[in-house]
């Protein structure tokens, strides 16, 4: 375990070192992330300037929801988004060399940090602080503790979903961009309150792909915001960590089953 951790830390350092070869990249990436989020926020703001609320959520509350998603996603993506490359690695037959090395294949796949996600994380933190003030949430120990649990739990949920979708490559080989499609699904759906969606879709995002626990329920709890129309009450936001633990446990079992089943595609 210690050896594996040492390998992972060293691998992360190497990828950061490689990234430092492009000194302008940090500035460009940061501006990039700002522009991307600004484009989305302008759309939401334009919409709410006409309608004033969405599912009972005002623009400041939506900004908080949006920021919370960005922070959680940025944190997870920094460590876990290299998993999206797994289907193409398996398809090319390059996964064989991961199996031959005396280190966990999973650690090798996620060994390269996704620096672009760090930009999203930083921008998200800035927006979260700004929106925290806008919605007047008190800076209490309880609220900060819930926020911390949300960050950890949401990271586990996102990592688990990514791991399961990437593992499908062991069975299907060509997964048709399944990891990316789930990423876009999450990116498009959870920036809006869950209670605007039809019930079957809410059921999927609460009980099957628990994206609702990433930002909607925690935000609803912190903001004392309505979840009218959603499956669960705002108190569900306190259970993000247990949901994350369950998800990651299932994901690791699927990953191990996939590894046992793996047959090379050749090269």
């Amino acid at each position: 375990m210690t050896q594996a951790l040492k390998f992972y830390v060293r691998s992360l350092n190497l990828s950061l070192k490689a990234r430092r070869q492009y000194p302008w990249d940090f500035a460009v990436g940061f501006i990039n992330s700002l522009m991307k989020q600004a484009a989305l926020l302008i759309s939401i703001y334009a919409l709410l300037s006409q309608f004033h609320q969405l599912g009972g959520w005002s623009f400041p509350a939506l900004l908080f929801l949006f920021s919370l998603r960005m922070v959680c996603h940025g944190l997870y993506a920094f460590f876990g988004s290299p998993l999206r490359d797994l289907p193409s690695i398996v398809d090319r037959g390059d996964f064989d060399r991961f199996m031959l090395r005396p280190v966990s294949p999973l650690l090798q796949v996620i060994g390269a940090a996704n620096i672009a996600a760090a930009y999203d994380f930083l921008v998200g933190v800035g927006m979260l602080i700004f929106s925290w003030k806008l919605v007047n949430i008190s800076i209490s120990v309880a609220n900060l503790f819930v926020l911390l649990l949300t960050l950890v739990g949401a990271t586990l949920i996102l990592f688990a979903i990514e791991l399961i979708s990437a593992s499908m490559a062991f069975w299907l080989i060509k997964t048709g961009n399944l990891p990316w499609i789930l990423f876009w699904f999450e990116e498009k759906y959870i920036i809006y309150p869950m209670n605007i969606y039809v019930r079957p879709l809410q059921a999927i995002m609460t009980f099957f792909l628990p994206f609702a626990f990433i930002n909607f329920y925690p935000a609803a709890w912190l903001l004392h915001q309505t979840t009218r129309g959603a499956f669960l009450p705002a108190q569900a936001g306190l259970f993000v960590l247990p949901v994350g633990v369950v998800c990651i446990t299932i994901a690791f079992q699927i990953w191990k089953a996939g590894l046992r089943r793996y047959r090379s595609t050749g090269s």
Binding site: Y22, M35, K36, A39
Partner: protein
């Protein structure tokens, strides 16, 4: 030349159809794109379905969503990423050996993949129509104008995709920039939200830019929001922008390929 183009299109189609899961995922992707805006409009108009906002009622928005998806399917392209991968790996060098200009070769291969989107298109039409009940075009001329505009949107989207892909000639790490640019174009084209919802001043600026020709303009023509002489002028403007972008893309391509160096094999 035509044999090369059609040959490439067939190869692109065959490669895509090799794995059924890939085709299934394309259909699943359409479902995702279809449901988000529908739920959004329901959420916004809940309790007030007769509301009209800047000339758009709920039925107009459903039709807008329906047509956005159709335009998205026919304009969809992987050219940016194919080009970027080819440049980074050096495989693009092989394309230069073909007796066909590289951008033409790439576009023709892309056209083959568009053909496989036809099941997705049928899925949208079959599943979405009973729910959305899109309105018929405002007139015959509106429909004709929509078709012309949609064809130009297809071409313009691919030219923009190639332009974005050429970023990789100058920087090794342009992936994030490409994704951001794509999202911004999505906003400016009305792909994310109809331009009618933006503030007046912002709309005026967007109306002279080429991006509204990708989504908002064809749909406004279909709905009859832009008709008569205004429609023909808008189509002319869209055509001019398309030609301008073809010129820009040709210039950028010529400049970029001069500095293209492949090290080893």
């Amino acid at each position: 030349m035509w044999k090369n183009i059609s040959g490439n299109a067939k190869i692109g189609l065959s490669l895509f159809l090799m794995y059924r899961m890939q085709v299934v995922m394309v259909v699943f992707d359409e479902g995702i794109n279809f449901l988000v805006p529908i739920c959004l409009w329901f959420g916004l108009y809940r309790g007030n379905p007769g509301l009209i906002v800047n000339g758009m009622n709920l039925q107009d928005l459903f039709t807008y969503t329906f047509l956005t998806l159709i335009l998205d399917v026919i304009s969809r392209t992987e050219l940016t990423w194919i080009l970027r991968r080819g440049i980074r790996s050096g495989d693009l060098a092989i394309e230069f050996l073909c007796p066909c200009p590289v951008p033409v070769s790439l576009i023709s291969s892309d056209v083959g993949i568009v053909m496989v989107e036809i099941p997705s298109l049928l899925f949208i039409v079959l599943i979405a129509t009973p729910f959305l009940r899109p309105v018929a075009p405002a007139s015959v001329w509106s429909f004709v104008g929509f078709i012309f505009s949609a064809i130009m949107a297809m071409i313009l989207k691919r030219i923009i995709a190639i332009l974005l892909g050429t970023i990789a000639f100058w920087t090794l790490e342009g992936g994030g920039l490409i994704m951001s640019a794509s999202l911004i174009i999505d906003v400016l084209s009305g792909g994310l939200l109809p331009l009618a919802f933006y503030p007046h001043a912002f709309r005026d600026v967007l109306s002279v830019l080429p991006f509204q020709g990708l989504v908002n303009l064809p749909i406004e023509i279909y709905l009859g929001k832009v008709q008569g002489n205004q429609m023909w002028l808008s189509l002319l403007g869209q055509g001019v922008w398309t030609l301008v972008f073809v010129g820009i893309a040709a210039l950028v391509w010529r400049t970029a390929t001069k500095r293209f160096v492949v090290q080893g094999g």
